[in-house]
């Protein structure tokens, strides 16, 4: 289950944020915000994607750049709202 979710988020990040020829590989530890792959302004679509997918509402104060900085961090955040 956790592996499926990891893949789901990685696939979304690749499709939503990377150009096909970017040559950047994303895994569960890749820094997303601090590396500049996802800027804090574009993070909103990732938050909306997760909220829709898991039928949850992530409060804005929890959706920090740190909480979204890697797929692992995101999974830890999600665990507060859904049983994974």
């Amino acid at each position: 289950m956790a592996e499926d979710i990891k893949k789901l988020i990685i696939d979304y990040v690749k499709k939503e944020y990377l150009e096909e020829d970017s040559g950047i590989d994303v895994n569960e530890n890749t820094k997303l915000i601090s590396s500049g792959i996802v800027d804090s302004f574009s993070m909103v679509s990732l938050k909306m994607f997760l909220e829709k997918k898991f039928s949850i509402k992530i409060p804005d104060e929890k959706a920090t750049p740190e909480a979204f900085d890697s797929v692992n961090n995101i999974i830890n955040l999600l665990k507060e709202y859904v049983k994974l």
Partner: protein, 415 residues
Amino acid sequence: MAYSEKARNFYGNELKGIRQGGLYKEERYIESPQGANIKVEFPMGSSTKQVINFCANNYLGLSSHPDVVKAAHEGLETRGYGMSSVRFICGTQDIHRELENKLTEFLGTEDTVLFPSCMEANAGLFEVMLDKEDAMISDRLVHASIVDGMRLCKAQLFNYKHNNMAHLEEKLQETQNCRFRLIITDGAFSMDGDIAPLDKICELAEKYDAMVMVDDSHATGFMGKTGRGTHEHCGVMGKIDAITTTLGKALGGAAGGCVSGRKEIVELCRQRARPYLFSNTVPPVVVAASIKVIDLLSKTTERRDKLERNTKYFRDKIKEAGFDIKEGVHPIVPIMLYNAKLAQDMARDLYHEGIYVIGFSFPVVPQGQARIRVQISADHEIEHIDKAIAAFTKVGAKYNILGKKRDEIIAAYGM
């Protein structure tokens, strides 16, 4: 006084962090009018140095143009220095409305309202146009002032990959249930010098019943055959619902901006845009000079034609010299160096050679995309550009990057 040691230390540490991160912005003192040749005191306290300026937004060379300066003097004489008022109390002169009408005609729109800056136009517009049942669909590389404006607006935010029309279309499909959708983009992007495909954006807007907003600050006055902007360049004059632009770049470069577009949107800005309502009016001297600028540009395309020739000349020559640049037609020419330190070191060496340019790196541009941004002006003569090419070639040879492509530069210097 409650400015405690704790507060002092906190702010001091913030500044230390900015310095350590290599993000501290040093101001350089220019002791001459803006133009191709300027006198600069840098580092602070050193004697002034004569350099050729390749980093101003003075695209048309109008910042110190004698006719513009004369019009400013006349404005000062006939309409005074300040108005000590916002527009709607006692801050609107006949010349404010005259300039708004001239901008409307120049941009080919329905109406125009002046703002103290384009930053403020962008800060005010979205909140006026949209509410929580609406959607803002923005390019990811829009200017920071648009990002701030969107943050002030309650509409839902969506964004698409830079200039990626397939991704924009996906976002338009995702937001079909919203009351209004507004596609938001820069006309010309300030870091890459590339142009938004406004023809395709307008097609998508029509197909999905969305409105289009363009910030044309880096295009008004020179893009398009008669310099009207990227909407002219892309053949969509009259189709953009809201244009924001600045008087602070090509159009004389002093201050001020505007929203120009559908008349109801402009009128609503006058009633509700908070940065318009609560800031002072644009000073008469700026208004008078801006009227002269629009008159000059409406009479002849000479200056934008010269800028176009200069831009082509520089782009051709710098490529011939072996530099890796972002292709395009805009007078912003990014010389790609990928490594932040390399960009800073080369900009410093070029300054010693008498060429004033700035290196840009993350977070201003994406990680691994460090560059020197060159900005061409109609104030430049071919001799200025030749000097720049010679200096770039000398400095490029020193760092052994001439003829090298991205991967080779990264292999030598890292990202």
